[in-house]
Symmetry: D2
Subunit: 335 residues, 4 copies
């Protein structure tokens, strides 16, 4: 069976997912597109999927008979209503992060999905599909004993002036928040943020770098350096320290070059290159589950926990205090 | 357009390519299968592609109206007739290595394709599609100046008793023969083989390891260690030394683990894992070209040159001498 | 001129320094030994320096006419009186860590040396003489821009039952406390300690691992993992993050071995091997300065600051709070 | 006992050894100096060892009553007579490479030492004292099983115009010739040299790079790339392939720096920095043996074998043929 997919939002990521499903992955086809700019949707249709229909609204697209499953790639504020509409229609739905712009919104989605009674939503936390993180997960589960600490870093060479201090949490740390929970099979109980000396390369109004300290229910202590003006590259580091040993996320594969008095490996400068392969894998997983009328991978619950945890981190940025993180009981659907 | 593909030979690699086209890659479907054991073909059909038809012979399959392109995955001795039949039918044809079991056979395929007037054949030299070799190619072309030397190694942990000394060339070195020509954009002019002290782990009758010395038309000197009882892993090394610097093929991505007094990275033991991703990429390339009625990637000419070079290396094994390698003019089709 | 040295305390480290000066280093000779066990001192004399005299007390040794300079290698509680006696005698004095068992004691030494008017004391913080830290210092000073953060780790495979939670500061972290100040040319203003889930390999009563968070006057944020039951090795890590780049302390030099499906490097298990070369270098530095009647390298002030900082860290272990660190003005002698 | 040493030849290396013995190492003092330029010897005396006597000739120095042992650091052509004179005087003698400028000359020294009846000569093959090679020796002896192959490289960034093709053997490869025999505990039976495409950075008249192929009595096959215009650094590589695994000489210890889109380690440009520590260790070994009236480390026999092997390699450069290497029986003194 070929899954017929509609894409809501045909900006950079929506266009790229359209190409991915049309040209790279087996098992699905793009039958519908929509965008708040219908012209933009039409452009993507002409370029990539001439047989697809362009809808006037995401709601129409979700309702269309030739749409089995939905990709929500529109701007963050519209995620919640589109995902709720997809759930209401009983159609599997892949939603780019964030699941909703507030924890309350994310919780409404969780509740709707629980009411539906089976999983329909996959959140676009693609790192869980990265080959390196998957290797790390296997090693954490098998080789290093009980995890005790995590030392991580998320570094960008630079950010635009529109990037403010809380975005270091909502846009940047959010990936560590999700992937570390998954790696550790654990939840957060507190957050603290400390601010080192500010980099002179940070624009006015941005406190950069930051060190976020998280504590989990099992007692694991996590430190994540978030440094978005590090200049030298887009660099994602993750080290898990266990009772029996210690494992590091692999560096991306590169050529070792000996030249001009240096042994050197290139470091990526563009975040889009770092997890590029994982987009293929996450969508293949979505297609596979959607063919069965359900969803797998990062869930609404994961999206909700990420939202709650992010809010606590932002509060910790503001207060300088250790902020407790409390979660409602996890619904059976997500256990 | 969806390319309709027939697979001849449904053993390990034929079955895997069937799965790949049916379940992983966009743009193609499997419509036909054949095998010298029709039961084997039927098993694959039931498991993976229930809608496909099982043919009594490869010739029937090639002739079938619902077959746009052919994958030849049968035993080596049958490659030549099937590829010639595909060319005669004007259908794009992907042929696992070797293109033919003799240089003369490979040359007949070249001549048939030249007579046809456009490319139809892709040979399964998958290393050209490996992400690491592609990175190396880019660096060789841009960063290290004129190549002068290559130091390479092809190591297997062990081989079965059926593996004899010439197979170190025909089955093992053959990959370096092709991929180094491609990396250097060059051809070989001589071969020499020296035999180090024999490993006590080599079975009786196998001279292992060997060091193959190749010289190219541009004067590059290549040494390739072929060691198929190295015990420790399946390990492919390639270092290109240029006038301005030196580049190494990347190691496969692995977790760095600190445990039990060692900093350690796993080395693959199974050759099937080493280039697994490149099979997807080579077939995606085949599908893309086949949709246009042609072929790209490693050509019949490349298969023929590999055969000529292999023969010279085997002669060098026997004689202990430096064996010259001469090629006919390269037909315009392959320039 | 050959510096005539007396060694107080002929236990493991005293014996080793005696050998070092007698057999390895130019420019000095051992003329006197003492130990609270005179028999022990006599044993070292017979084994290594038959021409040396064994004194009944450290005070006698310090006063001896044929002693130009003193090494204090006795138990920690005796360091303060011996160092004060050496200062009173106007003789250069190398004192193993700690300079004194209390910050007050260290301050008395500082005051005595200031009263003397020139440097006489070198404290045995040998890491400043390690080739790796020296490389790191050069890079921090030249290549990475203003330092903003430090991520460090101090791991031991195991500790004896006598090792209690505060020893993680006084015996273990003390080295990072000194060497990071030196690397950064900075002082500490606060300390915080968080305790991850306890390793099940820690003996009862020891909270292990710990993460110590330090803040400097210039705003650098430091996290040091102290984990003394890490099992896998004695492993010292130090990463300095600057505005322009990031530098890591080198791993100790080892053979890369490919064997049994692993690419592997040995990790040291014994701390005594890790900085072994730096003992030669620190004592060569002591001999060189002593020949001029003075001292260089880590000073009494450095010993005092280490004591003050250690006390704050232990207080932070107990309270779970952020503990401020305040220092008196640095005397001109140490600027 | 303090060994009283005379240094013949006070050029760069002689001056440096004088400093080493006077200022760094225990157990010896410089009592005598000579140079064909007495002024040059006097300058070193004034700068470093004011108490030493300057002799008019090396012969006088060797004969002096206050000289227990001799360092021959003069130009190559004078090594043989000075070493023979030292043997005649029964004084331990450290001789910088080459032991003699001809194999015959080296053999005369061997014969004189054999006639003397005990070892007196150490040749300055310092790599045997390098920490990295010593680690490699331990691993070769214990961890990788029977050695089968060696892949090595000796690269210099550039050479002066006076450096001709045979110097690639006599001045450059000579170190590999000695150290590989020592690592493998083996002797050479044949040599072959192949010339890759010439680097455009090689000056007219120099064939660079070269690949030297050596075969040992035990059947080990060795390839050494000698490339003295490699531009990027002074880089010494050595990989030993054994039946059970494979070991690499460590890279020199360096800082790993992340900066400007690169993960980078410095490569040394100056050969003098590469083995600098090993000079201390080789002379400490000489002093220790000389105190017993004998010599250890690389022997006259090793110097002679290096000369014989070098001659064969130069012949192989000229002829393009495989040149056999035959040695007389090894005298009992050197077994």
């Amino acid at each position: 069976m070929t899954v017929r997919i509609g894409v809501i939002g045909t900006g950079m990521i929506g266009r790229d997912h359209t190409r991915r499903i049309a040209q790279v992955l087996a098992g699905a086809e793009i039958t519908a597109l929509s965008d708040y700019s219908t012209d933009a949707a039409r452009k993507v249709q002409q370029d990539l999927v001439p047989a697809a229909r362009v809808h006037d609204s995401g709601e129409d697209l979700i309702a269309a008979a030739d749409v089995d499953a939905v990709l929500v790639c529109s701007t963050g504020a519209t995620h919640e209503p589109y995902v709720l509409a997809a759930i209401a229609a009983g159609k599997p739905c892949f939603c780019e992060k964030p699941l909703a712009t507030t924890a309350e919104g994310a919780l409404r989605i969780v509740q709707a999905e629980v009411a539906h009674g089976s999983r329909l939503v996959q959140v676009g936390f693609m790192r869980r599909y990265d080959a390196g993180y998957r290797m790390l997960k296997r090693v954490v589960d098998n080789d290093i004993g009980t995890p005790l600490m995590v030392h991580a870093a998320h570094r960008n060479p630079t950010v635009p002036d529109s990037y403010g201090t809380p975005m270091a949490i909502h846009d940047t740390l959010i990936h560590e928040i999700d992937v570390l929970r998954w790696l550790l099979d654990d939840d957060y109980v507190s957050a603290q943020v400390v601010f080192p000396r500010r980099s002179s390369h940070a624009h006015a109004g941005l406190r950069d770098p930051q060190v976020v300290l998280l504590e989990t229910a099992k007692g694991v202590r996590i430190d994540v350096e978030v440094f978005v003006n590090c200049r030298y590259g887009y660099d994602i580091q993750c080290q898990i320290v266990g009772e029996e040993g210690l494992a590091n996320l692999p560096e991306p594969m590169t050529i070792t070059l000996r030249k001009q008095a240096h042994l050197q490996n290139e470091i990526l400068m563009d975040w889009k290159d770092r997890f590029i392969d994982s987009y293929d894998v996450e969508l293949a997983d979505f297609i596979k589950a959607a063919a069965q009328g359900t969803a797998a991978g990062p869930s609404s619950w994961d999206g909700y926990v990420a939202a709650i945890t992010s809010d606590a981190c932002v509060q910790a940025q503001d207060s300088g205090q250790i902020v407790p993180i409390t979660l409602p009981d996890r619904p059976a659907l997500y256990r």
